[in-house]
Every structure is written in structure tokens, then in C-alpha cells.
Point group: C2
Chain length 450, copies 2
């Protein structure tokens, strides 16, 4: 007999899970729509060349590859692959439909992605990303808008204590230049730095030594990070001012470093007028793993969660890999499962979500009255109620027990007496009381009771 | 440069497409919920053994298989596969979570499936199914309920001229027995019969001869179908009565044939009391390709569409393949893309769906007033409006043109004068008129205008 568990790292969602997920997705979507983003959907399956080489060495390893079909199956080769994120497909879409899309394309996309990662607590092989991206503008208004959209989405879900940490790829270049790490080693250095949260200062120090960087490199960097960190007890505004001045001292005169500081200053100024006001803090040690970022990079953290609720940044060159001509772009991705993990732990879901599957259950009196029950169910459904119909002419007690167990609040009964009088009995499963009403006024009564 | 088209047979959905799809899904979902069905979601990726051997020989060929990963990638073997329908995963889920699920598990599931079919008009390699299934009861109430749910979903979308064709696997056994086709040949005979719509009577005749069935077999069968067809000009009720009596004559005394006729009679009786009243017609030549059906089988057709909008039936043994113990089951699947094809051709989508991406666009007066525009956008979003913010300090005329092209009905302007007076200008892009309002009353004014 085949196994009945879902495949490794994949999950089934029973009704209560689906309702929780749909609630979160619905809230996020509503906020994204209010920010003027429009929905996009792309296929789960992409040509394999679309994905390869976009996510760095490690990313390539984690892509699920699909075997060729028919006579080519025996080659053991793959020509297709499962979507790994929503950003690369977006870049492909923008290149393909450039003429059909507005000059500034603001899209949201909430779909699953697949990564052959080792499953762990909160890490799955199929998970949803909730992305917003703006294409077509280099203005920092875009960074401010996507921070605000992500921030308001979390606020609407009930989060209050999150922070958006922000840094800049060019600032990272500047500080790595400042500690004399060669350009060709910088990508590897960033991959290590990105793991700071996971492996700690000592971990980074060790891996830097392994990469052949002298010990003073780590010392200089961590001294710098520590000086920035000194401001963390003050309010965000003061801390950001303090961080900016430390960052300026460290990379002074470096052309790219100057650009980074100018842009970060502008972004901090603009976010303070919008939906992410008070939420954004500078984080000069923030690296972000993906290789396609070119400007500001962001990450959302909440206390008590290792890792982030989401992240994003500017990637002005990715579309160019498909179009041959750069289109500036900047986006943010919220991770649905992380959000749900925290909301579940903190009991942030509205109580009404754990609802019953139906407003009322219509019972079946006996084999001869089945059609009568079907037609009553039909009337109530036409009136807009969610109606379950018990499928068998079981003993009434058994039917009541079933409704009770499923938390359905009312059961309708049409016995021979009721039928003769043109009435229906309604049993309130919480109080146990039962009353008869004229069939034609049942909908009105039920609406009052619910 | 990599190709920018989606993979073969797959599609990108731009915003207007997504909105149409979400509209249809929303309507179907609302009806399914009113029938007391609860949502289920399963992973896109299943263990390959879960799927193999469930869809017949042809189905096996069309499954997308996923290559093993890491050191096993070079083996060229597959251990995972993409979901091929929603029914087999449901059977797996019911076997896995039997104790957590209610005795009668009524679930709906609206998710994509993948088949490596040759793409054609209206046939894609990724497409959505909208399924309802009831597990746990052998009562014909279930058949009546799922026909009613599918029927009401289509009615709610605006379809009026569809028919639910119904037949019974055991009736097919009986008629094949009646024309002396051996049990071991019957599966192949049904596969041919299932293609009747596509290949016509002559096609079936030819393939039957190739399978070695004598010519009189086709003659007898088609004479029988023709006798049934004679009733097709009358109303459904009369036609069903006529069909039943022809079917009874043809399979009289055959034990399984008798069961089929009893069940079909009961189903026709029960559907007439519910949401599919007047929609169900007997179709003794309906076969349905999938091998797992055991009882009633159904298919929905509309004039002008070759093929069906959906189909389903009873499959009492499928869960047993996972559980080792049978659980009766019956379900119906609506095909999202077929529905959308017909709705598009018939212009059945509500006009309001082709809506603008935002209620209002906030323009940017100059570089110095960007924060002002951000904060105005923020105010309007908090008031519940969908607000686009132009990202750059372009000339105002250019910004107006952009809003116009995107069909955004209003543009807000805060020039230096307006700002000094605490006002905002609103330009109506349809009439071209412009008026100033106090900033604090902007939301109220906008609500009136929209």
C-alpha cells in the first residue's frame, strides 16, 4: 500500500488550516490593493534555463527539476523546474509583456514556491510568498512605498512589534572595500555575513579565516557593527541618526558608499511620511543572500523569531538578464508560513475563524422524506445560508450528535407532524431547546438566531 | 538570453486575467460553502507512488515527474511528481487523517493540476480544477447534492443552458455484457466509448473492429443509443422516462444493470427536489475516462463547447487503495479554464471586473513635496481607498496622462498654493474638471465622487 503522508517537507491543509491561511492572504491582499498593486500569477513550472544561474550556487542545488517526458524520459535530463521564488518569473514576465504593461508596473503575487531545502521547524519545501514589486522607477519613493505596504499588511494582521531593518548593497561594497576584501571575494564574504544571525560572530570569524581573510578584517568589521549597535537602546530615529554617522565615518569618501548613504537617508526621510513610519531601522550588517540585489535591502524581524518575516530590496539588473536592457525594480516578499507560525504562537487569529462548517444542518426524518429535506436545504441555501444536509436516514439522535460534534449550531427537522402543519422544527444545539416555525418564515427566524 | 515565454502549455496571468479567474473561483467557492463543503489544500508535489497506477496507462504517461536531488540526481530517476488531479490526493488525505475528519467529509478543493498533454486550444499543461467530494456515505443524497452544488455554481456564474449528463458504471458493464464483450476487454471498450464525442460513431466502430469485436457489437450498441436519442426533443423529464425504459429493455435481468437503474432512478428523483432540478439527463453512452469510478458518472455540457465543463462520479474503492478498507466517495470537478473560455466568448463577465487599478492617483508636485504626497496617499489608504502614488516628480501633464491611460478616475494634486491653503485639488480624468477641497474633507468628497 502506498504511504499516505504527504511528500517530505510538504503539507496537507485541513479545513481549519486553509481558513487560517486564507484569512492571512486576504488581509495582505487587501492592503496590497489599497497601495495600488495589481495581481499577477505565473506558472508553477518554468523552463529550467529561466531559473538556473539566478539564485547563486546554493540556490541552483535547491531547485526541483522536472524530467523530460516520453521518449526523452530515459535520458534522465530535466527541461523544466519548479518556481523557486516569485521575483525571477516576474522579471521574465516584464521582459515578455513590456508593451502591454504600464510604465510603472506595480504587481503583487501570492503563490507557492518550492525549494529542496532540508525540512526543519518552520522550513518547508513548498511555501507561499506574498510579494509586492514596482518596476520602472529608480525613485526612492518606491522603497518607501513597498516598506509601507509590507508594514501595513503586518499591522493589519495585528503585529505591532516588528522592525524593518534596512541596508544597502553599495554600503556593503564600501565596508568590504574598507577592510580590503578584493572584489572577487566579496560575494563569498556576503554569503558568510548573511549567516551572522545563524552562526554568530565567532562563526563568521572562523569562516572568514577559512576564506583567507586576515583576522583583523573580522575585528574591524565587528568593532564597527558594535559601535552602531550602541545606539539600539534609543528610539529608532535617534538610532538611525547615530548609525548613519558611524556608517559615514567608516566608508567616508568611497563613491559607492556615498551613494548608499544618500539613498538610505532619502528612504528614511520618505518612510517617515508613510505607512512604515517609526518601523525602519538601519542595519549595516544586514546582507541578504540573493545575488541579484543592487541597492537598498530590507528585512522584517519580530522578537522571538529567528530569521525574518520577509525581506526585499532593489534589483535594477535582473530584468536586463531577460530583456537585454535594464528595467529598475524594487520589491518586498512576506513569508506566509513564518507569519502563520508567529500568529499561531501568539494566538493572533480572530476567534470567528474557527467557525462551524455550516449555519444549520437539515436532518432526514425517514427514507420517504429525503426529497423534502433536500428541498428545505435548497430553500435555505437560496436564502444565503451555509447548509449541511445529513446524507442518510439515521436515527435522529445520531444526526443531532453529528451536528453537535461538528459545532453546527442548529438542526432543522421535518417530521410527519411538522410536515402536516407546514412547519419546521429548529433545534438549538447549544441550549438544546427546540421550537417549531412556519416553513416560510424559517429563513427570517434563522437569521435572527445566528 | 533565456526565452521569456512561459514554458510550453503554461500561461502567465496578467492583472485582468487574474481578476477574471478570481471572480469565477470566488463565485464557485461561495456556492460550495453554502452547500456545507469545507476547504482542503494538498501539496503540488506528491510521492510518485501515490500517483502511479491510479489514472490508467495513458494517465501514467502524462504525469510530470521530478528528478531526485543531490547525489541521486545523476541516477536520472524520479521520486516525486506533480499533482495530476485532486481526487487521488483527497483519497490519500482521507486515509491519513481518518480519525481527525468527520464521518461524512465534505470538502472542496480549488487548485491547479499538471498534465503533460499536447497543448491545444483550451487545453493547457497547468489548469485549475474546482472539486467537491463527499466521503463516507453510499446514500444517493450525495449524488443529488454534488449535482446541485455544481449546477448552482454554474447558474451563479450566469450559465442557463447547461445539462448534467448522467450514467452509471454498472449500466455500462451491463450493456457491454449484453453485447458479449468479455470482462477483460471492457476497460478497453470503455476507453473507446469515452471518445465517442471526439471520434464519432464511425471512429468507435473502427476501433471496436481493431479490438476484435464483431461488427454487430457496434450496430447493436448504436441502435440502442439511437433509440434513447429519439426522446431528446422532448423535455428532460419525458426524455429521462423514455431513456430509463429503453435502458431497462436492453439490460433487463442483469443484476448489476438492475442496481444501476435503481440508483439512477433514485438520483433523478432526488435531484428534482434540489438545485439541479431540470438539469439532469440520462446519457447511456457516457463513459468517463478515469478508471476509478464504480457507480454513477456525470458530465456537464453546454451548447457550443466540445468536451465538458466538468464531470464526476462515485468511486467507492479509491480510498481503499490507500487505507486497506473502503470508504464510499462521490465527487464532481468543474474545469476552471473551460468555464472561462465559454464565459469570455459569451461575454458573461460583469463589467465592473475590468476595473481600474486604483480609485485615485496621488501626483507629485516637485522633489520637495514628495513626503507630502506620500502622507496624503497614506491618509486616503487609511480611509479604505485604493491609491496609486506616482513615483517620480515628472511634469504634471505626464502624470495626468499616465493616470488616464491606466483608467484611474481621479488624480490628487497638492501644489504650493493648495498646500498653503490646506487644500487638495482633485482632477476628474473623465470630465477633465478640477476642483479644490479642504484636505480633511477629501475622503468624504472622493467617496461621493466614486
Amino acid at each position: 500500500m502506498p504511504k499516505t503522508q504527504p511528500a517530505r517537507g510538504m503539507r496537507d491543509f485541513l479545513p481549519a488550516d486553509v481558513r487560517r491561511r486564507e484569512y492571512v492572504i486576504g488581509v495582505i491582499k487587501e492592503v496590497y490593493e489599497r497601495y495600488g498593486f495589481e495581481p499577477l500569477e505565473t506558472p508553477a513550472v518554468e523552463n529550467i534555463e529561466t531559473l538556473l544561474g539566478k539564485y547563486g550556487e546554493e540556490g541552483n542545488q535547491l531547485i526541483f527539476k522536472i524530467l523530460k517526458r516520453g521518449v526523452h524520459e530515459s535520458s534522465g535530463e530535466a527541461d523544466l523546474a519548479l518556481r523557486y521564488d516569485l521575483t525571477v518569473p516576474l522579471a521574465r514576465v516584464v521582459a515578455e509583456y513590456r508593451d502591454k504593461l504600464p510604465k510603472f508596473f506595480k504587481r503583487y503575487q501570492i503563490q507557492p514556491v518550492w525549494r529542496a531545502d532540508r525540512p526543519a521547524r518552520g522550513r518547508f519545501r513548498e511555501f507561499y510568498q506574498c510579494d509586492v514589486d514596482v518596476l520602472g522607477s529608480r525613485s526612492m519613493v518606491v522603497e518607501a512605498e513597498i516598506c509601507a505596504a509590507a508594514s501595513e499588511a503586518l499591522t493589519a494582521l495585528g503585529f505591532a512589534d516588528f522592525k524593518i531593518r534596512i541596508n544597502h548593497r553599495k554600503h556593503l561594497t564600501a565596508i568590504l572595500d574598507a577592510v580590503q576584501i578584493n572584489e572577487e571575494d566579496q560575494t563569498r564574504a556576503l554569503v558568510v555575513l548573511d549567516k551572522l544571525d545563524k552562526i554568530g560572530i565567532e562563526g563568521v570569524r572562523t569562516e572568514f579565516l577559512e576564506l583567507g581573510f586576515p583576522a583583523w578584517v573580522s575585528t574591524e568589521l565587528f568593532d564597527f557593527f558594535a559601535r552602531v549597535e550602541q545606539g539600539s537602546e534609543s528610539d529608532n530615529l535617534t538610532w538611525n541618526g547615530h548609525s548613519l554617522s558611524e556608517m559615514r565615518k567608516f566608508v567616508e569618501g568611497h563613491p559607492e558608499g556615498e551613494v548608499a548613504l544618500t539613498e538610505l537617508t532619502r528612504i528614511l526621510d520618505l518612510v517617515s511620511a508613510g505607512g512604515a513610519a517609526g518601523k525602519v531601522v538601519l542595519a549595516p550588517n544586514l546582507a541578504r543572500g540573493l545575488s541579484y540585489y543592487t541597492g537598498a535591502i530590507m528585512e522584517i524581524t519580530v522578537p522571538g523569531l529567528a530569521g525574518s518575516l520577509g525581506g526585499g530590496g532593489r534589483y535594477d539588473n535582473l530584468v536586463g538578464m531577460f530583456l537585454g536592457q535594464d528595467v529598475p525594480a524594487c520589491g518586498f516578499s512576506l513569508g506566509l508560513e513564518r507569519i502563520i507560525v508567529v500568529m499561531t504562537e501568539r494566538e493572533m487569529f480572530p476567534e470567528a475563524l474557527v467557525s462551524s462548517p455550516a449555519d444549520i444542518m437539515v436532518s432526514i426524518w425517514n427514507e420517504g422524506s429525503v426529497a423534502e429535506s433536500i428541498s428545505l436545504a435548497q430553500e435555505l441555501r437560496s436564502a444565503g445560508f451555509r447548509v449541511d444536509l445529513y446524507p442518510e436516514a439515521d436515527k435522529l439522535g445520531k444526526q443531532f450528535k453529528y451536528a453537535s460534534a461538528r459545532l453546527i449550531p442548529f438542526v432543522a427537522v421535518i417530521g410527519d407532524d411538522e410536515r402536516a402543519r407546514g412547519e419546521v422544527s429548529i433545534k438549538d444545539m447549544r441550549s438544546g431547546t427546540q421550537r417549531s416555525v412556519k416553513r416560510e418564515s424559517l429563513a427570517v427566524t434563522l437569521r435572527e438566531l445566528l
